[in-house]
Amino acid sequence: MKSVTKYLGNIFQYYIVRRFLFFVLIIWLASTTIFLIPRLSGQDPVKEKLLLEAQRGGHMQAGLEEMAKAYQKKFGLDKPLYVQYVNYMKDLVRFDFGPSIAYFPKSVNSLIGDSVIWTLGLLSVVTFLAFFLGTLAGALLGWPRSPGFLQYVFMPILTLAAIPYYLLALVLIYIFAFNLEWFPLFGGYAVANLPEWSFTFAIEVIHHAILPGASIVLASLGFWALGMRGMMITTQGEDFMIQAEAKGLKGIRMFFNYAVRNAILPQTTALALSLGTVFTGSVLVEVIFRYPGLGNTLYQAIRLNDFFVIRGLIFIVIVSLGLATFLIDIAYPLLDPRVSYKKG
């Protein structure tokens, strides 16, 4: 027994193991919360629904109790709370979110599966692009040796950060899709086509993705740029920057290895968090462009009271946020040696 605890103690010293356990803990806590919250209301969803329908149809209430019991048995709601909880957890572990209510008998899994690739494809590319461009712009803006004209180029772009991305999306649609007709008005691909793995279809997908992508990139560019600019200016005041100059280093080395390398550390944390929300997408942009992604699916599910789909999507957000944090926790010691894998 003693050796077991000692072994466990050693395991806990491993940074990655501790981070992973923390990741599992977060997901467990969050999914327990989404299990408990609806049940705290004390209402019986089946009976409520049946009563509502009965009132609408003007039926007699005879047999309603029996009907409710039958449905509760079907959904497993007649069992004690802990049994329900265990069943719920079993389903979660197998990533089985049950059937969709609105598109019965389609499963939630297949609904999410159809749309996840669109959101993941669009938003992961767009998030990295915005991060890369914004951070670079911010780094150049916060670097005293940058040519002065950059101020005039970047600053107007950064003001776009003040505009909500869905408004920007509407403006972009109006100008580039409606008036100029350079890009399609909506959709992930042309209505007449079916998804297939071909070059022409890929081009079509990219063509459709440019406007929604641009609206998110333009709106979030400022966020990354302003954060990076601030950190660059803070880094300028550090002693090691003076020392770097006293060492007679080339400007480009001071810029990348000294200033950017240190200023980018807080940016990566923000990147992890924004990657975590990639799965839910930018709901409004997907709705505006009728993009076949998760955000649009979530919007439809909320509209149609499709509780199982909503629950499945929320679980995905939780897992992806947790996963993103876990990955950045693992990657962070590589970026910042002061954060150690060993302890602390």
Binding site: E238, D239, F240, I242, Q243, A244, E245, A246, K247, G248, L249, K250, R253, N257, Y258, R261, N262, L265, L335, D336, P337, R338
Partner: protein, 327 residues
Amino acid sequence: MTSSSFKGLRVKDLQVYYDTPEGVVKAVDGISFSLPQGKRLALVGESGSGKSTLSMALMRLTRAPGRIAGGNIFLDEDDILDLDVEEMRLARLSKISLVPQGAMNSLNPVLRIKDQILDGLFDHQVFGSKKITKDEQLSKVNELLSAVELLPSVADMYPHELSGGMKQRVAIAIATSMDPKVIVADEPTSALDVVVQRTVMQTLGRLQEGLEASIVLVGHDMGLVAQFADFVGVMYAGRMVELGPVNSVFEKPLHPYTRLLIRSLPTLENKEDFVGIPGLPPPLLNLPPGCTFCTRFGRENKNTPPWKEISKDHWISECEVCSDIGK
């Protein structure tokens, strides 16, 4: 000392001003000194006297709103204020190098020590244009580290894994990596305890002698200065008030400020009452001409005191109004 054959550092009437919205702050106001090759000059003075501003100006690292308003900094024959930006970059580390104040934060926290030693060498083409092997690079790093009494294993460490004294040794290793002619050490030991201070200064002194470099040591620790330096320059309100061989200045201080400064030091013999200097230095903003030390005692001398060589190599800023103070 004829200027044509002079070897070392020669500063002539150097002025470093800070432009502020309220007016010009003359942080260094007309400082001149000559430091022959291989000699050690210590600059002392209280906070705000312009020591650090002067040391940054010697590296031409004065940052806005500061600017070097006038004067010359000769390194052997050449005025480094005449160099263009790229020439100045190449002169740093190779001709004039800096041991920074508080080495705690002067190393890049995300780079290994060996990379921070090597990057300066790479940017000065020390290894020529040809590719050199990792082994050759490492042997250069080890050579520099062992010169400052650090183990080769330090090369692979990050700054946060080192103690304050070790970091300062790394800083010295970097500063001496290209055999500079002048080393500017800006309070190199101010963050260290006295035992470490001593050993670090010994290391710095040994390397400086080996390189036959001149050293400008900025500090306010008079004891350290007395042990280490050949010459001492006393600064007050942006001006040099006394400059001379260290023995001469400590035994026969000629300027009242130097006298009071030395009297304020605790000694083993005199433990009871050491005297402070009353008042504060004048604010440097829009400083009127005249003797800056007189004002501290409510006296006035409207003429800027002349910079005079009283005995060999012993200079003071001679003001007849306040010269009796502290006698």
